[in-house]
Subunit: 436 residues, 4 copies
């Protein structure tokens, strides 16, 4: 997480002040319930809120204490005691640090997930808008980077829309994975704290109860969360790569918006580069790099070890902040993408209708030729076109083995572009629903 | 995937004969629907089934054809043509290779997922059986590898049960991710094939319809699938690591079953090593290693490139076969695990009740001491026990600052083990439901 | 490792028979030295060679024994005993399985490295040949996929040559990393075997002595080895990606050789796809996927655990066989690459000399304009060219702010292509040495 | 990179001010050489130094400019122009941004490598000191976590010393990989800049000349660099894992230094946890997570794309700062490690000499028993010891099949511990040289 690739709202989730605020809320809610259960005095619980509800925690002071006790939650509790006074001794009764830390992380990751879902919604909105706008803009479909058959630019975006819709569902599932609360004590037995406290804090913090914890919330949950971010990042890379390809000088079917005053190169003033989508490609690598350490974090020793902690202190902010930034950047790129239908047309026409080769093949088989023979006939004429020797339709008409099966009129009819787009509306219906 | 770590049922899913069989079914079902739609003669569709329904495909012959045409689906279709005769020219009408390949992969991965889910059920059954058996077997809970507070061995297994229950749900979701059928033609436009064919084949093959494909089924689906396998593998590693720890010579609370005739070391005849769980730790690394290439496969170029193909030819079998083997091995390890309650007791007693330190701490705060003072008092007595200087309870009684707050009787009462297990049944209820 | 992506020589290194042969040699050489040291009878050592030197080991029989003893080296030794007779009891004296296994792996990886180095030499030879052939073939250099300034096709290949030269050095270093022999006994103390045996076997097997082992050879060596393969694979991906780009329909500056009879698509007979380089892109992902498990293998417990073993049984063959195949395929692709200088020329000319923008910029600064003003002047004329409004040179001449600084003749002189190639020979000298 | 896991010297390498300072030096040195070549006025070159040699660059101002031009090097040059005045137009003549950026990164990574090498030297010094101190401290060697045969604690540390010596060599090689300078212009052709400038700047900045660049320095170099950091991190994990194991309550052969005032747990005052080495385990995962994105960075498009940039902005600081911190922490842990020889002795004696099983096995084979029979005899007596039924030596003496081969005196002689340590000095000689 570096400022260049960060947005303030996501960053604030991970700020130290936010973390201490959540820690405080967990402790204070727990104390409320403990008071209700008669474990601590009701006045003490009230005093905790009264003194600290609006406090700003002194991060430097907490750091100072931590340097001595070498334990961050104890340092925080000591500082909270300085704010609350003697009643602070009733805080954290029967709890262990991880009750606070892991429940806090659940809150932070849930909030981060909420932002990410909202980000995906922005991407979806931009994709939908541009897809509908270009529902019938013809462009060549490419497999292997080679011209295949016509598609529409709207179809390309519809595919991306469907992919990000899946990513939205995955993020919702990932959020559910990590939104649990554990207040179960030193080894998860509730020996020193009633399970009712856990239920109460969970409800207050908007979390589900973790069915069984072992001081820590099990890390398979977090592994699944970060793995999901890795998948979303890979989808970003896919769409970014598409745009980078489309902006290539020889293709130039679409281009990132290039603002007034922008400079593409320090050396070459003529340059307009797809730097945003290249950047997204790199950011995808960064988000994905959180997946393996998150998987390695699962196998904690016995009831827990603390090896996961340093990992999460880094990948927690890094992966969510970077993904948030990337999704927002992607939404902007799509929304402002400069699209060149005329260049799409020029490229589409470049091979003189060669992309109708399959129709000719099928017609030949329908006319009685074997699949192998049909393939051979079409391929030999197509290869002449690749070699720049002339026009596909003319070659086909002139090939006696072809013309024995297919009349000139029949061949000509196969070069109708509309043929390729007859199901565009069907696909849009599947992706966007009826009214597009 | 190597024989040593493979089981036949999963291996058979990936056999070439299985693949060709699925290819054939996809082609034949599609031809049926095309016949119904009037695109191909009904007799041709019938002839396809008649000739090839029970055929064994000649893998060597297909390989021979592929060496010439350098395209596996064309090679298969050519061979199928040799079996079916002239009517074979009506096969594959309007379809593209990926319609066959990707739908086939969906069938294979779905079947693999079914086996994996069944494997997890075996693990769950073993865990449940042993958990109930040891619901109240006391053992020391360990954080950081250091004695913390008592748990029961059943609780350890209950945690694992909950984790594998989550993994079961994840596998069900992952199966859904990849169980889609695409028969949409060269660039996904259905230009040369009616969407009704796709719907028909999907239903016949037990798949959902892919809403929008681009010759290929989008690879974010497969990325999510393999990422999920990586999470399951990490959970295996967690449980395997636990058992490896428990079998350590100094701990020896549980031990893998050591069969008659087994030898632990070529050099040292006294050895009995946790080789199965060590092996599971390594296999987890292998399954996880499929995650990153699966993520890298997402960003195909334009409508598709074929870079994902070689990756999937390897990680498809490797990850599923290895995970299947690992889950089965894990179920066996748990089922036959030799458990030593007497050693658990011996270890639990090793620190002379030091694991009750939290109770004493809480009692001191309840008796009016600040949290910091209470901590200091308990810690200074505990450290003497670590240094081997004597007994925790005796030290506490002899500490005037402690005895000023807590009577000897009160201190003694804090060394009651049952205190730690009063919520075991609550947790079992959460994990296993009521009747355990 | 699957047959499709395997070559026989590398596969044979990993064959079971090869492994057993190496095991035998290690055991037999060790026994020779033990005989010399007087630990075992000389006749016994001689008998071992006499009986087993030319033996074919019965893999099925060894498997059968292993099913009982659950230990592969013991199974082998038992089978070897069946071949050698009673003198076999003098085999493996003071050795432990890992002495055999790890030294064998060192031999296998060294041999694999030798093949990989030879493969890289093939790649280098192909690159050198084609680079010299196209030393002065002009083509546009592209940054961000956008036209930048002219280069030559030979320069592109020279860059690749330099990169694979580095990879060759890295492979030599990686080979050295893993080419060590350990015969140090159960925990590496030589308690039951003289260090002289290790030195003798090392020399016989062409390895260095491992300075300190702990039953196993430390796995940081293997991690470095597989990490190096990952780097080589990434270089393959880079060059493969370049070719995939060059073969794009709109670019078509180079093309994989397309053989007679080859078919590009089952649906579209006109297709010629860069399937070999796409395949290499996928294979690079597979080779790279070995890096993380190899890194995870380093942290074995205490003197050793066996978690690395299953990982190496898979990544050992998989990574080396796949990389060997990929390098050989790459060499072939380069060697037979169809290169289209005329298309390079056409693309180079597409932007009407816009790639000279930097020269104009520099001339303007030399003529007294500030860098910022110069940039602005050139950029505003360049952008008109991008918009298709006309010719760069004409615009520059017509721009009064430019013409105030630079005469028409001066501007025209800046559109000389040779200007860009004056240091090609310098660079070739750096890469290939003097005589190219 | 977060403050908690950072040290100031490494952080300062990556500070923005440091980066701008290096950029300035590269530009100013290049201008000096250009002046010498007569391309720019000597006065201009002198003025650059005069005005900016001691300047503090205004990061906020540069950011402000970048927001408009969207290009960081142009923003810097504009700001530098504000400092230098009109002569600034002679800066960056014929150079491209990457000449500055990549050469700067080379300087930063070289400096980082220097610190990492110094860190490893600290680790080596600590290991050497403690190894010599405990050269002959007996402890049980463990394979699979199970007692094997005796080693000395010094041998354990000698192994780690040898491993970190290899890591030192790898870091030196990795430093060499990335310490190159490229000043080759927009596409690496030196079209607008003489190669002599590159040679001059390289020498001034302490770098080698990059033989062939393509606007960028090729990223296989950086991939190798970060892969090497990943290997070093894995070695840290290995040693950290060893210490975590040794500190386990049941083992307690060594313990991290626990300072006065330190608190191990918020709930359990008795706890002393190996938190530093657990932390190192997590940090190793973080450093390793840089390897895959660095490998993915290699395959830039054509002469370059900019996808690597965002990755390196993050992993550059993150991986080096984290590894620096981890190495320093490791050196401290080793240096202050509390070692308990008496506990090592207690554990060593726990199995009553079972670790001599191999000697008995070998003696039986020497006495004429087959390997299989010998194994069976020793194993059956050893298993009784595992079952807690009594003493190994006594069982052996009482076993008629054993005593038929080996006298009581012969058996007793096999329980001599010194036997295991006779080659400790040999191994120390290999690792540390003669005088230890």
């Amino acid at each position: 997480m570096i400022p260049r690739y960060s947005r303030p709202q996501m960053v604030s989730i991970w700020a130290e002040q936010s973390r201490f605020r959540i820690w405080f809320e967990i402790e204070a809610h727990a104390t409320d319930k403990l008071a209700e259960l008669g474990v601590v005095p009701k006045e003490a619980a009230a005093k905790v809120w009264e003194k600290a509800r609006d406090a700003t925690f002194d991060v430097a002071r907490i750091d100072e204490i931590e340097r001595e006790v070498k334990h961050d939650v104890i340092a925080f509790l000591t500082h909270l005691g300085e704010i609350v006074g003697p009643e602070a001794r009733f805080l954290h009764q029967g709890m262990t640090s991880s009750d606070v830390l892991d429940t806090c992380l659940a809150v932070q990751l849930s909030r981060a997930a909420d932002l990410l879902i909202a980000d995906v919604d922005e991407v979806l909105a931009a994709l939908r808008k541009r897809a509908i706008e270009h529902k019938y803009t013809p462009t060549i479909g490419r497999s292997h980077g080679i011209h295949a058959e016509p598609v529409t630019f709207g179809l390309k975006l519809a595919q991306a829309y469907a992919e990000f819709s899946r990513n939205r569902e995955r993020l919702v599932a990932a959020r559910k994975e990590i939104a649990t609360c554990a207040i179960s004590g030193a080894v998860g037995t509730f020996a020193n704290i009633d399970p009712a406290v856990e239920a109460y804090v969970a409800e207050k913090m908007g979390l589900a109860v973790e069915p069984v914890s072992t001081q820590v919330i099990p890390r398979d949950r977090h592994a699944m969360f970060f793995a999901t971010l890795g998948v979303v990042a890979s989808s970003i890379e896919r769409l970014a790569t598409e745009i980078r390809h489309l902006q290539r000088t020889e293709v130039l079917e679409a281009e990132e918006f290039f603002s007034a005053g922008q400079k593409g190169s320090s050396a070459m003033p003529h340059k307009r580069n797809p730097v945003l989508t290249e950047n997204l490609t790199g950011l995808a690598r960064i988000v994905r790099s959180a997946v393996t350490p998150a998987l390695e974090n699962v196998a904690l020793w016995h009831e827990r070890d603390i090896s996961h902690s340093s990992v999460e202190r880094m990948i927690g902010p890094d992966a969510t902040v970077t993904l948030d930034f990337a999704l927002a950047r992607l939404a902007g790129v799509i929304d402002k993408l400069v699209i060149y239908p005329e260049n799409m047309r020029r490229n589409l026409d470049r091979l003189g209708g060669l992309h109708n080769s399959q129709r000719v093949l099928l017609a030949l088989t329908q006319a009685g030729a074997s699949r192998e023979d049909s393939y051979r006939l079409v391929q030999r004429n197509a290869m002449k076109v690749w070699r720049g020797e002339g026009d596909f339709l003319a070659f086909l008409k002139a090939d006696p083995e072809v013309s024995a099966k297919l009349s000139d009129a029949a061949l000509e009819a196969m070069f109708d572009e509309g043929y390729h787009f007859k199901h565009v509306d069907t696909i849009f219906g599947r992706v966007f629903g009826a009214a597009t």
